[in-house]
Symmetry: C2
Subunit: 422 residues, 2 copies
């Protein structure tokens, strides 16, 4: 799939053909926004713009796509010709990746002749929705971990390979230290982590033999997985091996009663002189368990975070829509119950007071307000007009944003933030 | 990403290198199974084998992958040479796509030299986990809809483009009539559906003008979207337009109080002589709403199913693991609490009584039992030894299976099925 033209719902193409047939090719603005945050999200983290821009570049209709569409016997030759020549030559306005956003704020705005903007609908929503969903989950985990190390272990339970790769990227933006995902490591130079699975321990006749073999192969990354048989016995073996000169930098617990086991393991390691050996916990970890354990003072140095993170299990989707807000200079609004929209291209001004975010004002683009404008023009007439930041820079953007986040939004529930729409 | 070698968690490669260094390259069997079904799943539908086989074919380490791994400064030249030459030459046993499965049943078993089987772990779990998750959600929707038409509208809220494409495939296996997803339509010849969005209606000065324009462009697929402004007024306009000879095959409701609106719209259409015009409902639909509406007799002919389906929102992941069960002819088990596994390569016999599934027996491969054996050898020495069925055939397999499904497993909760492990 080199060309992405068919990453489209059929109705975008039926609409586009009908627009062209009915002379409706005036300038339109579509806005991508979240109507309402899920109950367990106090804020969202913008993510996915870089991937979207790559996707738009590849949004083409080559012979493969045209021949398929022709086979449907719905589309006119004129329209298929239009698709064949399709290149996005409009404008894209975005709130940059790594910025914090709220309901009714335009993450992406696409300004182009109506059919040109319409047919990007599925691509724009799909890319930004997923990466924003998972970055917004990851940052909750980051805030709960209070500075402890976090590693994405979720690749296997992501919704597809692509989801795993982009989730690793999003988690790094959101403050994770690294990932187990090698493809993500290779693409964005994200630090990669990983040691062994239970199967490795089971291959050797005795557990200590497995530990010894691994330390021999990887003396600088010698982390022992303790819970294959009996966790506390394995901790005692770790101490014995260290006394014999076997290198050990950490131990991992992946199952069982974590608060009890982590405390006992810490005690065993410490009494064996292994105060520097880190305890890493994985297996069903999310921001709720992390917060609980940290609040109880459980001695854990690092978390491997998998399934619940990578599926954003407590909020696996957002109420995100790509809505027409302006056509030919005129405002467009939908008035049906519960789905009202706000017209016109928009800017968001973030008002800061005493270093803290106080409120956001969503105003018509071009109007001014006090505060920090979030929306930037990224693509002008089809051409990139901003340098795209590195992943490290995106992460720094978010870390900076988090410093100004009001305390009640940092917690796991219950925060409210004022967004005024003018 | 032509080669998929880096679709791997780092620990698989560290383990593999250590296995080779320690002479642990004997024949191993890994089993992919679900430990426990989610509370709201009575059974699962196997899905993803075809994609997995394509993935294994592409699981290679070219210069790009090798250079990245070399840059990590962890791996020996010997091991990088092993990866460079890697081709899967082992055996794969699978329960075919479209079959119904339960906890502790081996969906996939990989038999190969230990390092060769180990490094496929993430790929095997990722592909089968996602497609099985979403097929298992889709079949619940299918069973709830009682024969009414179902179309996948979820592409935009899937976790990435790939997730949307494979979910469309899974939904078709699970009995949906089609998808809005053009890429899935093109790949597997799945019927595609779609008409217009609210933005289309809003572009025209008057709603009836929009209806008229669409019917002109697509007279054979002329479905009117009623809920942009006032749903019942739009239904009345539909009747008026039909009287003027404008073609109309269906109407769609996407928001509001669906039971009330569907009944009123049906009444308006019928009293205008439009008894054949179908009512299609979309917007937040899942098996729970479908069942409720059908139980109440709400007149709906077809459902467009999106977000909650494609994210499997009520069970976005399965407790699925890829576990070593046999090495060098010896059984392998993990005994840590809550994660016990069963040793050896396995076969599953499904015992049928009076046309209904009665119980499954999971036995050691090679042992016999009465019943229908589910596990088939698909790859032998790296070569495909079965014809892969078409998507239509997979769908027929599942429809056949569903006929034998006990009544209490067909519902939305509370079914139990006996799986005996010998």
């Amino acid at each position: 799939m080199e060309a992405l033209g068919l990453c489209t719902d059929l109705y975008e193409l039926t609409m586009a053909q009908s627009y062209l047939e009915n002379g409706k090719a005036g300038r339109a603005v579509f806005s991508l926004f979240v109507r309402k945050l899920p109950p367990n999200r106090n804020f969202l983290v913008c993510c996915g713009l870089e991937t979207l821009l790559e996707g738009i570049e590849r949004f083409r209709f080559t012979d493969r796509e045209i021949n398929y569409l022709k086979s449907l016997q719905r589309f006119s030759d004129d329209f298929l010709g239009y698709l064949k020549d399709y290149r996005f030559e409009g404008n894209i306005y975005a709130i940059p990746e790594g910025r914090i956003v709220f309901q009714n704020e335009p993450l992406i705005q696409v300004e182009a002749p109506l059919p040109d903007a319409q047919i990007l609908e599925t691509l724009v929503i799909n890319v930004i929705h997923f990466q924003t969903t998972v970055a917004s989950k990851a940052v909750r985990i980051y805030l709960s971990a209070g500075g402890r190390s976090l590693v994405d272990f979720g690749f296997r339970r992501a919704h597809g390979l692509e989801a795993g790769i982009y989730a690793a990227r999003a988690s790094y933006v959101a403050g994770f230290d690294g990932t187990s995902n090698l493809e993500a490591g290779a693409r964005w130079n994200i630090p990669v982590f990983g040691t062994v699975a239970h199967s490795y321990i089971m291959i050797f006749d005795r557990e200590e033999e497995a530990f010894r073999a691994f330390a021999r192969s990887f003396p600088h990354n010698s982390v022992f997985l303790l819970d294959t048989y009996d966790t506390l016995e394995a901790a005692k073996k770790t101490v014995q091996l260290a006394r014999q000169g076997v290198p050990v930098v950490g131990v991992r617990l992946d199952s069982g009663d974590i608060p009890y086991l982590a405390r006992e393991v810490r005690r065993i390691l410490n009494s064996g002189g292994l105060r520097d050996v880190k305890i890493i916990v994985s297996g069903g970890v999310d921001e709720y368990t992390i917060k609980e354990w940290i609040d109880e003072g459980v001695p854990i140095d690092a978390f491997g975070v998998g399934t619940k993170f990578i599926t954003s299990a407590d909020a696996p989707y957002l109420d995100m829509a790509y809505k027409l807000v302006e056509y030919d200079g005129e405002p467009k609004v939908k008035t049906s119950p519960g789905k009202a929209t706000f017209p016109f291209k928009r800017q968001v001004f973030r008002q800061i007071s005493g270093g803290q975010m106080e409120r956001d004002a969503v105003v018509r683009y071009g109007d001014t307000q006090e505060g920090d404008p979030l929306v930037e023009k990224i693509i002008d007439g089809g051409r990139l007009v901003r340098d795209l930041p590195s992943l490290k820079e995106l992460r720094d953007t978010l870390m900076q944003e988090l410093k100004g986040l009001p305390p009640d939004l940092r917690g796991l529930s219950g925060g409210e933030y004022e967004v005024i729409i003018k």
